[in-house]
Subunit: 320 residues, 2 copies
């Protein structure tokens, strides 16, 4: 029996193994991924984003507990964006949810891209399918609010929670980072701090101004995650959002968009690989040298690769 | 006379016009870009990143003033990542540096990607070339610390300043966002707040642990930008970094890497466009429909596009 089939049968070890293979970018598991894809579509995928220090991990911990109390199974994927600069994730698993780790209705996993640039969003997308196929009702994806994979990861989720804290939430710059447009639910965490009123006022004003009127109006909620305050109303809103997007036909459109983006991302990756293989690494290096020495603009280098024109090493021929 | 030539002659209006055309993604300016590329290579490109609320804009304002006092010309590019979700930048120009705006030795510009996803890094790269060719000694690029373009923009700069504030800088999560690896200089801004000692200790400890020993050891500096404190030592460090990377041959390697990334990004974009044009939008839509309805995994869809295999609408042929 293949891993994907085992996962569909509820095998947690198979799920863990499959996610590792996904992280490795192992191409031999493609039939498994196709099988997973066919078995997915049950879970609500919930993205949680926000600045470092906003308390995302604690909030997710409490959300997971809250969902469990309501009889839902919960998967958690913590995305640790390894830097493209060195290829390594800085630290290992980052969520320690001891009281949840023995619960068979919870599956927690942290992911890294293992030096595969741009691969984290792709891998996360497949990992959500694993947890979905495993039968998790809610799959929570945590990403840190910095790094290029942020938006890409948010593309693969159904419901985006944006976590802010007082004193940052009311800063004009926070509003410019594009978070207003991606958020389905805004959470002011650490709401026992000063400045919560101002943060809420400002967020709501901005949402009023920016958001299109649709079937869903992004609410602003307050939590104090480390005291477990405000968790139940937040879970109610997460459920309500899921109801709305399923009832209003939004989910299907969302799935199409998700698939479209995923196909395009993969296509970019594969197309470039095959073009470069055809062009040859030595020719490519020579070409880059010409760009670095200002003889060619990057546009012209791309043209050369696409038209399979070999770089010329003679300088006098380079200047046109 | 072309725009690029005018820019090289110090024409500020031509520079502004050229950056607008770059933002528009207008392909007709490619000869101008090639000319610009040939005329660039003089300026130190300085990236400033950090969480919303860290005080980046104020700090950049003071840095620009400080560089001016030392007789350097300064360009500032504020990158406003328009959300890929709606295609629109939220607000317009965000830096208001009134005392600098009448100084002919300063050129300030904010950029948006105008709905061209992934285009902001590319456009920013060409915009730095404009300011470089215009004769600016220092070009400061500001990006907000959230969004997918962050890392891509940091690829086009020589010196990365990471701005943190006390109370966030010492948070364990801040360290996980990969910022340690991209920073050349760390700045604890708002250093008159509580927690500055702890933030500095923690940052230095992490840097000690994480950074490779090289010719440059990323320092941790303190500033209170709105009181103009700590600006001169920061400028000294920025200059010192520029000296080191030029003397140690790092700059050439950096230029190669910059060019390499830029060519690859452009290549992805162009390769996908030409593949999709060839495949046909209707066939592509049908294919995406198959993926969304779980008949095909994204991998198989990509395979179909690369091998130019038209999607089959008959269901029985879809299941293999």
């Amino acid at each position: 029996m293949g891993l994907a089939q085992k996962v569909a049968g509820g095998d947690r070890r198979a799920a863990a193994r499959l996610i590792s293979l996904i992280e490795d970018g192992d191409d031999s598991i493609r039939p498994e991924l196709a099988e997973l894809h066919r078995n997915s579509g049950h879970a609500q995928i919930i993205g949680v984003t926000g600045s470092p220090g906003a308390g995302k991990s604690t909030l997710i911990h409490k959300l997971a507990r809250g969902f469990r109390e309501r009889g839902k199974t919960v998967g958690v994927i913590a995305v640790d964006p390894s830097s493209p600069f060195t290829g390594g994730a800085l630290l290992g698993d980052r969520i320690r949810m001891n009281d949840l780790s023995t619960d068979p209705g919870v599956f927690i996993r942290s992911m890294s891209s293992r030096g595969n640039p741009g691969g984290i969003a792709k891998a996360t997308c497949d990992a959500t399918r694993v947890l979905d196929a495993l039968g998790m009702d809610k799959v929570i994806v945590e990403t840190v609010g910095a790094g290029q994979s942020e938006v890409a990861v948010m593309d693969v989720v159904h419901t985006v929670l944006v976590i802010v804290v007082p004193g940052l939430g009311d800063d004009i710059q926070a509003i410019k980072a594009g978070i207003l447009e991606i958020g389905d639910i805004f959470v002011i965490n650490k709401a026992d701090r000063d400045g919560v009123e101002a943060a809420q006022r400002e967020l709501e004003m901005m949402l009023e101004f920016e958001n299109e009127k649709g079937p869903w109006r992004p609410p602003v909620l307050r939590t104090v995650a480390n005291k477990s305050e405000g968790i139940a109303p937040l879970i109610d809103k997460i459920d309500a959002h899921w109801d709305v997007i399923r009832k209003e036909g939004i989910l299907e459109e969302m799935e199409r968009k998700r698939c479209r983006r995923e196909v395009l991302e993969l296509l970019k990756h594969k197309a470039v690989l095959s073009l470069l293989a055809e062009y040859g690494p030595d020719n490519f290096d020579t070409l880059i040298g010409h760009v670095a020495s200002k003889k060619l603009h990057p546009h012209d280098a791309v043209e050369a690769i696409l038209s399979k024109k070999r770089p010329n090493n003679k300088k006098k021929n380079k200047k046109k």
